[in-house]
Symmetry: C2
Subunit: 339 residues, 2 copies
């Protein structure tokens, strides 16, 4: 692996300075400026080799992109703007310069896509696994952060995009399928394309920053979270923090076409289970006052994004799944980070 | 090891909320408020088992304290106030609940001592090593952060406290000496007490937040850094960033009494080398305009801290050591994190 000072020099050269960066990489700490009187949003997310990813599953660039994407997704879930990031990496001694370059190329690409400045971090060697901890600082207008605690009885539950593909992607990786095996094919719904979609959803998630910000600016969400642990677990987080329950309609849950397609050919794959409990989707899950329905639909049309209403917040505690008229209490069967 | 949700619940219960914490642990991100119009200070520091520490060298509580202390020290070096912290830990499966409790007890103790709120973080299992990344967010008045880049020709170079003990502590740990072997003895300068001082300097460093803040408020420093990599390396960072050189007086470098005492009994231990190149001291190194000398002395008396003037900033590039009238250029022989 390259030396710590070589890595710092490279990162320092590569880091693009956006507005608000007074002192970037190269001092004891970064000095940054947020909008006057704004609230600050701060979070970090850890990616550990052998727990959250395997090096042989993806390119270093994809690993770098995802490490930052998952933390940006947390900022998105607050309805905030991401501004600054710090990256701590512990590198096994067998990491080549090319690997480290690729990793940071991915991190920079992701940061640039969302106008985020890398302002600091730390590097170390590691005796064994690769560890990446990314910290993001964002901001939003005072008092306007969307927490998990605001869901009210009668609110409608929405989810962005579709679900299940990341869990399918993880399953395929475990079975030995790799991105390189799934070259884009001419037939849109070919097995290769469907597999590729699932793998990309798992390996190259995109944080919903723009969409979440629009939801926040239009005050459409009473509570919001990103789906990192699975719909059932993340919805339960909202329910716990808001002190309410929910009923969701099985038929309304948007299942990724790659999952539908794969389950059609594999009888023991339950696509609803995957969509309900599969983690690392990085879609947004939010609750909205019923009177906002038309404006949610409008947002969906304007941005060309899928926003599915999947159920409602109720007074009765717990998460209930309504399946063809029969209702059952379901337990959050969240994503366990054990790959 | 305890489950991720058990750890989060414990940390959430244990985290003390100070002013400015709008949303603490338990949401996608923390929401915090800094003083209106202040600059934000952000940094993170990584501690990796087998690279920066060994579990058998210290109690879990001391490991936790140090993990946060080293990052607080970076905020100190900017002359800023530390406000909020986030802790990411990857825990090997053999970490017991007691170990994790001790680790966080140490982190909370350190946070409480400096009125810092733990507002977030992440936890994961780890296949092998323990990995702790701490992020601290602080603040200072706009434009008043003390960087490494402000040293001017003629400035006097000061160091707080004394040097070398942490490197001696690390050496003793490597030789198998443990804190438990060094019970406080009645004679102040006993071998046990001296060893204990060195071990504690290495295992339980204290960030110089109060002193650094006073230096900042009184505008005494033109540049500042904390000594984490060793005097020679950290002074070279100031020289590089400021585009200047320095001459330091060997005889003026404050050497810890534990180092003097130990080297008296061990002929192959060069105490000057230890003070010059030993890392992880977490003392402050700063440069000050010559006309501030009396006010620096005043601060030293008022706070009862040792502030040693060890040399001067010069135009000629490089770091020169003046030793009994003979001057030689020295290379930064910084601390390598390889234990």
């Amino acid at each position: 692996m390259p030396s710590e000072s070589e890595i710092i020099s490279k990162v320092r050269r590569g880091a693009r300075r956006t507005d608000g960066v007074v002192v970037g990489i190269g001092d004891d700490a970064a000095v940054v400026r947020a909008g006057s009187g704004n609230d600050l949003i701060a979070c970090c997310d850890l990616m550990v080799e052998g727990v959250h990813f395997r090096r042989e599953w993806a390119t270093p660039k994809l690993i770098g992109r995802k490490a930052l994407a998952v933390t940006l997704s947390d900022v998105a879930a607050m309805g905030a703007v991401a501004r600054f990031a710090m990256i701590s990496v512990a590198l096994p001694r067998d990491c080549s310069s090319e690997f480290v370059d690729g990793l940071f190329e991915g991190i920079f690409e992701m940061a640039d896509s969302y106008d985020v400045s890398i302002v600091g971090g730390d590097t170390s060697s590691s005796r064994d696994s690769l560890f990446i901890d990314t910290t993001v600082i964002g901001e939003c207008e005072t008092g306007r952060a969307i927490t998990r605690a605001g869901a009210g009885i009668g609110d409608v539950i929405y989810v962005t995009g579709d679900l299940g593909a990341s869990a399918l992607g993880l399953k395929l990786l475990g079975q030995g399928v790799r991105l390189g095996d799934c070259e884009p094919a001419s037939s849109d719904e070919s097995v290769e394309n469907m597999r590729r979609e699932a793998l990309m959803k798992h390996l190259a998630p995109l944080p919903g920053l723009g969409l979440a910000r629009a939801i926040g600016e239009r005050r459409l969400a009473s509570a919001m979270i990103d789906i990192s642990d699975g719909l059932s677990t993340d919805l339960s987080h909202i329910l716990d923090e808001s002190g309410v329950g929910a009923v969701i309609q099985a038929g309304a849950i948007p299942i990724a076409r790659s999952v539908e397609s794969h389950s059609a050919g594999e009888s023991n794959l339950d696509s609803l289970e995957l969509a309900l409990h599969g983690g690392e989707e990085y879609e947004l899950l939010f609750t909205s006052r019923p009177e906002c329905g038309a404006r949610v639909d409008e947002l969906s049309r304007e941005l060309g994004v899928r926003l599915s209403s999947i159920g409602q917040i109720v007074a009765e505690e717990g998460l209930h799944l309504d399946c063809d008229g029969s209702r059952r209490l379901i337990q959050p069967a969240g994503y366990e980070h054990r790959i």
